[in-house]
């Protein structure tokens, strides 16, 4: 799967995450009066929507890395982190909404057209920040957390504004909130895909075997490469590789590839090496797999 296809998958997952979270949110909103407090109501609403969105984003790695066994685990972990992030996020968003709304609520003419949409959008953005950061927390990557925060912030603001203004423009349209959720998910997914690429240290493209054409973004300080599905660069169908064959380290902006199992020699540009500082265009060979290090 190329980086472009990965972006498309992330976008699709984002939209699906929003679509899936919407009915759950509607159900909880409908039951608002029965909750004991705004605290419990907001926390549960955020936790459920966050968990559903987190589960969808958690499946991304398994789908894009073509390691199916990662999907349920990723979804579960994503749901757990999303649950916490969503709960905290909606509480924080609600607090922000009330703080701003209370301060400016009496601006008569502007209340419906400016204050309410804007304060709602800020509430959405705060929620988005927490939900977006969830995937980074799940993956244990500070960079991904940063990416998610940007995506969540943008998506939340956009989603919230679109929701509010579509509600104002088309008061009878019952799916405004669905559009808002879909945009929130789309933006988070889009940012994961776009900024992840911009913040990476290049791409390893597999040239041979079952995963031919698959591209791995180098976006974490340490990434393991080998047959085990637990590796960030998981190559399960290359049987001559060890479970943990090699490691990619990012050190002072340089990408270093280290062979952890010298029984299977590693070649970079046809030179046998144990460790190599990669340059763009390098061709790596480890047993049956050939890898091309590239930027675009």
């Amino acid at each position: 799967m190329t980086a472009f296809a990965r972006r498309l998958i992330l976008l699709a997952l984002g939209v699906l995450a929003g679509i899936c979270a919407w009915p759950a949110a509607e159900l909880i909103l409908f039951l608002q009066t029965g909750f004991p407090s705004y605290l419990v109501f907001s926390a549960l609403l955020g936790a459920v929507t966050g968990a559903l969105m987190g589960a969808f984003f958690g499946s991304a790695e398994g789908i894009t890395s073509r390691v199916k066994s990662r999907i349920p685990r990723g979804m579960l972990l994503g749901a757990l982190v999303g649950c916490g992030g969503g709960g905290l996020g909606l509480l924080a968003g609600q607090a922000a909404l009330w703080l701003i709304g209370t301060l400016v609520m009496q601006s008569y003419g502007n209340f419906q057209r400016v204050v309410l949409p804007l304060s709602h959008a800020i509430g959405w953005a705060v929620l988005g920040v927490f939900v977006g950061a969830g995937e980074g927390v799940r993956a244990g990557s500070l960079k991904k957390i940063g990416i998610g925060i940007l995506g969540g912030l943008t998506g939340g603001l956009l989603g919230g504004l679109v929701l509010e203004y579509s509600r104002l423009l088309f008061p009878r349209m019952g799916i405004s909130r669905l559009i808002g959720f879909a945009i929130l998910g789309l933006a988070i997914g889009g940012f994961y895909g776009l900024i992840e690429r911009g913040m990476s240290f290049g791409i390893l493209r597999i040239l041979t075997g079952a995963l031919k054409g698959k591209e791995f973004l180098l976006n974490q300080r340490r990434m393991r490469l080998g047959r085990s599905p637990r590796n960030e660069i998981a190559l399960p169908s290359y049987e001559d590789l060890a479970d943990r064959q090699a490691q990619v380290r990012i050190h002072k902006g340089e990408v270093v590839l280290v062979n952890l199992e010298p029984r299977l020699p590693m070649q970079v540009n046809e030179q046998k090496v144990l460790e190599s500082r990669l340059k763009l265009g390098d061709v790596i060979r480890m047993g049956s797999v050939r890898i091309f290090y590239k930027y675009e």
Binding site: I9, A12, L13, L16, I19, C20, W22, P23, A24, A25, E26, L27, L29, F30, Q32, T33, F35, S37, Y38, L39, F41, S42, F56, S59, G62, R66, K68, I71, L90, G93, Q94, L97, W98, G101, V104, M105, Q106, S107, Y108, L116, H120, G123, L127, L163, R177, L178, L207, T208, G209, A210, K212, S237, N269, E270, G281, V283, R290, F292, K294, E296
Partner: protein
Amino acid sequence: MTLKLPRAILLAFLPFFPGVAFALNISLAQIDASRLLVTQNVKVYVSVTNDLGQPVEGLEPGAFSIAESSDGVTFQQIPRIAAFTPNAGAVTGITFLLLIDDSGSMYDTLDSRPTTDPALMRIAHAKDAVRTLVASMTSPADRVGLAYFNTSYHLLSRPTSDRDMIAGLLDGIQRPTPDQAYTELYASLTLAAREFAGIEGRKAIIVLSDGENYPYVQHAGKPHPVFGNRIFSPAESITANQEEGNTIYAVNFGIGSVPDRNLKDIALQTGGKIFDAKNRDELASVYDTIHRQVAGEYLLTYRATLTPAEKKYVRASVASSEGDASVTRFYFASTVFGLPMRSLTLFLLIPFILAGLLLWVLTLLRLERKRGPASLEVLHTQVGHPVTRVVPLTTSKTVIGGSPKADLTIVGAPQLREQHATILFDPKDKRYTVVGTGDILVNNQPVKRRTLESGDVIDVGGATIVFDDEEQGAK
């Protein structure tokens, strides 16, 4: 006397107006919902006065009741008041801003005659009254600020507990020049609202004025030096102060002066009152009344309902042997996702199921590639671009070059020869060999001729091409 008006009529006329002239008047000076998310509690500050405008003290918790509404029409009674604090102003402290009119007419006598004797001028009486008020503030928790206005708004001090300093600052209020003698009442009330920014608790502006709003731009016939052509409205001053939770108490100062026609509404809509001060003693007593009224407010804390609403109406009522009264104001109660649907339908399950199904479809994406025939794939070109990105190797000879007749043509790359490299297929041992007429690299090593393996990366004049032969790779 108790008027038994139908509730709907009462509500229609009383959305924001503190008590009407029943035996008891109640005003809802401030709603503090800042702890709503954490504690589910809302605090309301109410003051109760009798027909003489005197604070009614000693009321028991049972005299009060609270109701909430999402639409201002249908109210839900709150079962019990969770906490009741009399004299709440004195307990929590009050932050005042004294706002003094320093327009030209304040330099006339109390009965509106011109005078050159400073002691007879209204401003002198006003300053004396302010000193009296400041001196009467015995609660150490109280803070007071000072500002005055004419054509411009002038802040002398933000709210402080240093009252001596405030009294001393009064001397800084000087007679304005003719160009500075206009009455920008609404603008000043709007600007004064900001002085409370960041201050919590009970906040009140006491504005002392002797005439109507007299904007510079309208009457001087030229733009205001600060506001330009902008004319402030009463609504703006109400809005600005409601935003900050400030109550405005207005004092109409002087005999024969025409009070501003909107000043009463401004005071009422912010939970305050308007007073007439006929002379120095009365003025001093009005200030004292305000102080006692604010200090004597009742603080009612109740557990809010969760009825969905963008803004929640609170109706505070008081009933005692002296009469009853009620007042309604609202606070911001919107939730992040907004109001719920009116009804739920099973159609909501459709997107839920659809999203799950599509996720499942995504997981079924072909995870591994099928083997195909040998091919060349252009990954990247430094200059120019390929006509096709993937070329299957179906013949015994495949030419790569800049010529349109080549099998793999890269256009716009002048460094490429017409036939820069050729891939030859040997059907006997089913091997492919690359032969360069120009410079070529295989796996970054310069070669002239080289038998290819699946996955080899060929650089042809800056074009990066991958040779793929899965059948060979499978051997």
